[in-house]
């Protein structure tokens, strides 16, 4: 399978299975268009092309295309499916998302967790539950050495003493268990005072700071209980945090909705503020919210990604470098193919723990009774739904199997698939369209940077 497209005057061709990426000139691109996805030349199209293009050019281009094919760099076969059983056999739990607080001091209008409460009551995780979660992770992680714990909410800073207690407990168990913990925290920044920043800087591998971009955009969504926006309060705290971390291992992340389909401006605003690690993502919200990205918004959102990609490449070249998370693509390195086929690992390698200690496939499933998988106190309950997560990979999802982006996207988000289609194997189409555009942009940026 190949994916051939044109962006800002560059013809790009991705050979899906090998990961090879080529830039074609217009002549070669036209010749390539005469090939089917099976790698065979369509004689009809080809003879038509011969009437339109000089024969010598056609022959040269054809020779080059054929040599790529013979080297396995174009129309290459997918050799991975047979390895799947070997890669899924030893799946163990390696990451937990701890819902430290099902409560929040903001009322973001797009929040999937319903003001931090999810589907339950307002509650805080106790240290006892947190310690049990660490024990559970150690016991269920087999031979894996690196374990991840993400402090999430609601808003985790509302229960920060427990965060500290859990970190201390996990560290105290590193030696006897032979494990190494990596901590991350995702916060709305409001309570990020010096003490907390110091603790986070000392103990956390990554910190994710939520801010949506321009003041008016942020404040229209990220509001306090009294309806006031939080931009002016959080910006200095976020800047201090990043400064004190030496500009390493953090992300500022925002969400865009159909109210700001010019979200590129928000990305650039964050870059202008001095942030270098930026993530701004499409909201996943229901139609009732009025904020959801709709079919009719796709062309505008895609055009905005392309516009941003161009500015991004220029800025990175002229010394105003920054990273936009969704344009980052490690072509030479990156994760192994086993990971690319399976994605986030929700329900298998990755689980969410509620304040009460209940286990769910991931934070977005928390509180949905049919997805309750057990508890940190009693272990897995044997809920058969877990099997579905085990079998979740790009070959099992019909849309993904045929999709050129599968080894970069890894099959999308099960929670979105459930939310929109009540089937974790049925992909969320709008998400797919935006994801594919981001990957196209990322490849285009690589092409610019390799000039």
């Amino acid at each position: 399978m190949i994916h051939a497209y044109r962006m800002h005057g560059t013809n790009l061709v991705l050979d899906v299975s090998s990961g090879a990426v080529h830039v074609f000139d217009d002549a070669a691109f036209r010749v390539l268009e005469c090939f089917g996805q099976d790698g065979r030349l369509d004689e009809k199209k080809f003879s038509k092309l011969k009437e339109e293009m000089p024969e010598r050019e056609i022959r040269e281009a054809l020779d080059e295309i054929r040599s790529l094919i013979s080297e396995g760099l174009l129309f290459s076969e997918d050799p991975y499916e047979e390895f799947l059983p070997q890669w899924t056999r030893n799946t163990v739990v390696k990451a937990l998302c701890l819902h430290i607080a099902h409560d929040c001091n903001l009322r973001c209008r797009y929040c999937f967790a319903g003001a931090g409460e999810y589907l339950g009551e307002r509650s805080l995780m106790s240290l006892e539950v947190g310690k049990k979660a660490i024990d559970f992770l150690i016991e269920n992680s087999g031979n894996r050495r690196n374990l991840e714990v993400d402090f999430f909410g609601g808003e985790p800073l509302m229960n920060f003493d427990v965060v500290k207690g859990i970190v201390g407990y996990a560290r105290s168990r590193e030696q006897d268990s032979g494990k190494r913990f990596r901590f991350t925290i995702t916060t709305n920044i409001l309570l990020l005072n010096k003490d907390k920043r110091d603790f986070i800087n000392e103990h956390m591998d990554n910190v994710v700071l939520s801010i949506d971009g321009r003041r008016e955009v942020n404040d229209a969504m990220r509001q306090r209980l009294d309806g006031t926006g939080c931009y002016d309060r959080i910006l200095p705290l976020a800047k201090a945090m990043v400064e004190e971390r030496g500009h390493q291992n953090y992300y500022v992340r925002g969400t865009f909705t159909r109210d700001n389909l010019d979200f590129g401006e928000d990305v650039l605003h964050l870059a202008d503020l001095g942030f270098e690690q930026i993530s701004v993502e499409p909201v996943v919200a229901s139609a009732e919210s009025g904020l959801d990205i709709r079919e009719e918004d796709i062309p505008r959102a895609c055009a905005e990604y392309e516009r941003l990609a161009k500015i991004y490449a220029e800025r990175r070249a002229d010394g105003r470098w920054f990273n936009f998370f969704h344009f980052m693509l490690d072509l030479e390195g990156g994760p192994c193919i086993a990971k690319r086929l399976r994605g986030c690992g929700s329900g298998t390698e990755y689980l969410a723990v509620t304040p009460e200690g209940d286990l769910y496939p991931c934070h977005q499933f928390a509180g949905q009774p049919e997805f309750l998988l057990g508890s940190v106190f009693t272990g897995f309950s044997g809920n058969p739904v877990r099997e579905e997560f085990y079998c979740s990979n790009v070959y099992e999802k019909p849309e993904c199997r045929e999709c050129w982006a599968k080894y970069y996207c890894s099959g999308g988000c099960a929670a979105n698939a459930w939310k929109f289609n009540q089937d974790i194997k049925k992909t969320y189409r709008i998400g797919c369209e935006l994801e594919k555009k981001r990957i196209e942009c990322a490849l285009w940026i690589k092409a610019q940077e390799s000039r």
């Binding site: 080529h22 830039v23 074609f24 070669a28 991975y80 996943v284 990156g334 193919i337 990971k339 994605g343």
Partner: protein, 46 residues
């Protein structure tokens, strides 16, 4: 080549036999999280 420039060679199928050690980070891809596409993650072995 005159008409085609290859900017990335065969990279996905390089280490099929060694793949799947599982020490790498998990990666949520949704809008609410430390989210990211899988493709930009690091391999723990390198």
């Amino acid at each position: 080549m005159k008409h085609i420039k290859t900017i990335n060679g065969k990279t996905l199928n390089r280490d099929v036999k060694k793949a799947g050690c599982g020490e790498c980070q998990t990666s949520c891809q949704s809008a609410c999280k430390t989210s990211c596409t899988v493709a930009n993650q690091k391999c723990e072995k390198k």
